[in-house]
Every structure is written in C-alpha cells, then in structure tokens.
Symmetry: C2
Subunit: 281 residues, 2 copies
C-alpha cells in the first residue's frame, strides 16, 4: 500500500481512538449516569458518490451541560469558490481531510469551558493543524490564572519537545485567532493554535498531533477534578452566561471553521455543535 494511503488510515483511526478516549474520560468525570449519544452523518447521502462523513458524540449531563466530540473524514473535489484559497489547490482540485473537534461547556461556572481540534489535510500539499484553548468564566481571577498557567505549561512542554521556540509562536497564533475585534476582548485565556504544519517528516508531525490530543484530555481531566467541587453563586452563573454570549459571538461572527463549514454545505449540526447550551444577551 502506498505511504499516503497508510497515512490516511492511521490518521482517521487515531482521531477515532482519541474520540473514544475523550468520551470515556468525560463520562467518568460526569456525575450523572448520562452517556454520550452518537450520530453518524454522510456527505452527499442521496448522491451516488461517496464523499465521506463523520460522527457526532454529544453528552448533556449534570457536570457537563454540553460536551460535543466530532470526528470526520471527508474527501472529493474542491468547490470552485475555494479553489486556490487552500494551499496546494492552484492546479489541483482534490482534497482529503480528517479531524477531531471537541467543545465542552460544563454546568458549574467554576469549571472552565474548553475547545480542542486537530486535523490532517491533503491536497497537492499536505499538513497538520489544530490547537486548543481554555475559557474560564472569570478571565481575571487568581484561580483562573493558575488554571491557565497549568494548561499552558503542559502545552509548552509538548511544543518545545517537538520544535524549539514553537510554543511562543503557537500561543501568539491562538491569542490572535481567539479574539473578538468588535469587543476588543479575548475569547478566553488562550492555548495554542497551529496550521500548515509540515516538517517534511510525516511521522514527527503525526506524533505531535497525537500528543496534542493526549495532552488535551490529560490536562482537562485534572482541571475538572480540581474545580468540580468548588462552590459557586448566582453571580458566577451570570458571568458564565455572559462569557458564553461572547463565545457564541466569536463562533458565529469570526470562526473560520464555521464559515468554511457553511460555505461548503457541511453538516450544520456538527458545525454549530460548539455553541453553548444556555446563554443570553
């Protein structure tokens, strides 16, 4: 089998096993007996052509008001309006993309919301991309600072192991990306964001992508354990709903993934899975 075919299989299998791991860990942390519900979807379900698809997993519990884990592997021809806008598509119109996307909105305002996604894309070029960021309710409290420091320290470790100096770049990319220009506010307390990663060594890049996924669930598990029994009051809840309103504004007004998904007629429920369960303006 050609190396590229093997890579595709290894990648999509990894995203599936990471999905299984994340769902298992979240279910173990969830106080109620509620489990993730799975739903498969197919691109072009009525057409004859197989264009791939994905699987959504959503849990609506007591600890986690809404936790969503999407995996998808899609492929086919690039639509004319996107041709040339994606690397390696100037004189080439096929693509393959596989990835995982996670967004968790806990019920307690003391547990931070979190987002992670990683993906591998193949056109005439190929690359990895992804990242994660954390959104505590109160962006300015000492406790949020401590949590963010722990989250960032773990990320720094894997970034620097992979490539010296990369943490600073990926952190900056994240800060710039998860920013609401119309509010002049960050969405949360950041993390890392990277794209077009291709070191010419596929295995190295794939291993980094795997570490990002594992570090995500390990870090978040510890953060949930540390915060889940903390007392909170109505003021904390109000601030959480406010934070979520900003999260929604970001995702609908600015997020590239949302725009890309809507432009390419992606699965609407999967695209908007990230939106919070209860919010308000």
């Amino acid at each position: 089998m050609k190396k590229i075919q093997q890579n595709k299989i290894m990648c999509s299998r990894w995203f599936q096993s990471l999905r299984n791991l994340i769902c298992k860990e979240i279910e173990a942390l969830e106080e109620s007996s509620v489990k993730f519900k799975r739903k498969k979807w197919f691109r072009n379900p009525n057409g004859s052509e197989n264009m791939g698809g994905g699987e959504m997993s959503v849990l609506r519990g007591d600890t986690f008001e809404k936790a969503g884990v999407n995996i998808s592997t899609v492929f086919g021809s690039i639509s004319t309006n996107l041709k040339g806008k994606i690397p390696g598509t100037d004189n080439y119109n096929k693509f393959w993309a596989s990835g995982i996307s996670v967004v968790i909105h806990p019920f307690s305002p003391k547990i931070p919301a979190v987002h992670m996604n990683t993906r591998h894309i193949i056109t005439k070029k190929s690359w990895f991309g992804g990242g994660m960021d954390i959104t505590p309710t109160d962006l300015k409290s000492k406790e949020s600072e401590r949590i963010a420091k722990y989250f960032h320290d773990n990320l720094k470790k894997i970034c620097e192991e992979n490539k010296k100096g990369s943490y600073k770049d990926y952190k900056k990319w994240c800060d710039e990306y998860f920013f609401l220009p119309h509010r002049n506010e960050p969405r949360g307390l950041g993390g890392i964001f990277y794209d077009y990663l291709n070191s010419k060594n596929w295995d190295t890049d794939f291993n980094f992508t795997k570490k990002v996924g594992k570090t995500f669930i390990d870090s978040y598990k510890n953060i949930v354990t540390r915060t889940k029994n903390k007392k909170w009051n109505e003021k904390d809840k109000d601030l959480q709903l406010h934070r979520r309103s900003r999260y929604t504004e970001f995702n609908l007004l600015h997020d590239r993934g949302t725009k890309f998904g809507l432009q390419t007629n992606g699965n609407i429920d999967a695209i908007l899975m990230s939106l919070p369960p209860a919010t308000g303006w």
Copy 2:
C-alpha cells in the same frame, strides 16, 4: 431653511417621538414596575468632529424579558471600503442616516417576539427603508397562524393604501431576507421589508414610514394583550429557547445591519441589542 435640512429634522424628530410612543406602550403592557433605561452614545466621542450618535432604551422586565428601542442619527464621510456599494456614493462620499430599531423578546413563549425598523438615508440619492417581522415560538400552530394573519392584514392595508401591489413585493422581500439558508428555515412568520423607497414625493414616502411605525406598535399591542395571559408549559419554554437560538444565528451570521454596523465600527451594544436574553443550543 432648505427643504433637505427640514426633512432631516422632521425625520429624526419623528423617530424620537415614535421611540417615546413605543416605550410608553411597552411600559404600560409590562406587568412589573420596571421602566426603560436610556443610554446615549456618540460617534467619535474623543475626536473633535461631530459624527452624530444615538440613544438606546432597554427594558428588562417580567412580561418583556428584553425590549430594546434604538434611535440614531449619524452622518459624515463614507469609509473607502463602502464607497460605491451604497446608492449615490460613486462620486460622492457624504452620508446622513437616521432611524429607529426595535426588538422585543417577551418572557412568555405565548407572546411572539417582534422586530421593526425604519430609516431614512441621504447620500447623493435619498431613500427610506425598513420593515418588521413577527416570530411566534411555534411557527406551525393554529394560534400562531391567526396572530400572523392579523399582523399581515394590518401591514397589507397600509402598503396597499400607499402603493397598489406593494404588499406582495414587500412581503416577499421579507420572506427572502429573514431566512436561514444553512437551516433551510424561515426566522419567523414574516412581515414586510422594503428598501431604496423613493417615489419622488418625499412627503408621501415619509408618511408611509410613519404609518409603518404606528401600525407596528398598534398591532403588537393588540397581539400582546391577546396572548399575555395564556398558560404555557415547559415544552413551550424549550421551544422558545430553540426559536431564540435560530434568531441569534440569523442575526450573527446573516443580518446585513449587524455586518454593516461591525464594518463601520458602530456602537457594539446597539448593534447587538437584538440578541435574545436567554437561549441555548
């Protein structure tokens, strides 16, 4: 005084008195003793140039979970990125705009949400625009159909009085505008939408705009009176939050006013005043 100066004054005064009327009627319908809170804002507050501004009125009560009424009168130079995109700005870079915008989200799912706005814009050309639309919680119930019919009948009357055949056109415009393509769903049960209205008789067009405003508050007052004491249950409330999530998606993903406001660095609180007080995905 030149006719155009008189028109500007008459217009902005009308929007102000309509604002006063709407706030008075909404306060009279509100069960609690909560009143509208007013907040003025200025364009370019730190600069030396007067570029106009506006006034927001927001009521957060028991009957009306959130009711917002904005008026604004703004003027100045057109930014380069908008030049030529607005009628009468090809070789002309000044504009004047005055308008009113109303969005009401009642607490009871039995009372429909409603939106209305009207405006007058002057560049090298000048025109009126506006409209209104109604969003009952359940888009398919018999009661919602009855309410929508009453709302539409009142609109049809004033449209046809002003111009034969215009109701059909304005209704169609509204249906096309307040539509969520990514959901393949309407936002609500419609109303009217019109733009670039200039019949060459300013007084006729201004009178129509005034009638739109008065018909709005008269119709909505009757609808609130008719629905405010109706019993509702948790299922109705859940459907209301669902309806509001669609409302939010429309306003952040598609609404021209939102996009225009964000592009022109408008007042962010006024632009996003339309977003619902409690919703969820």
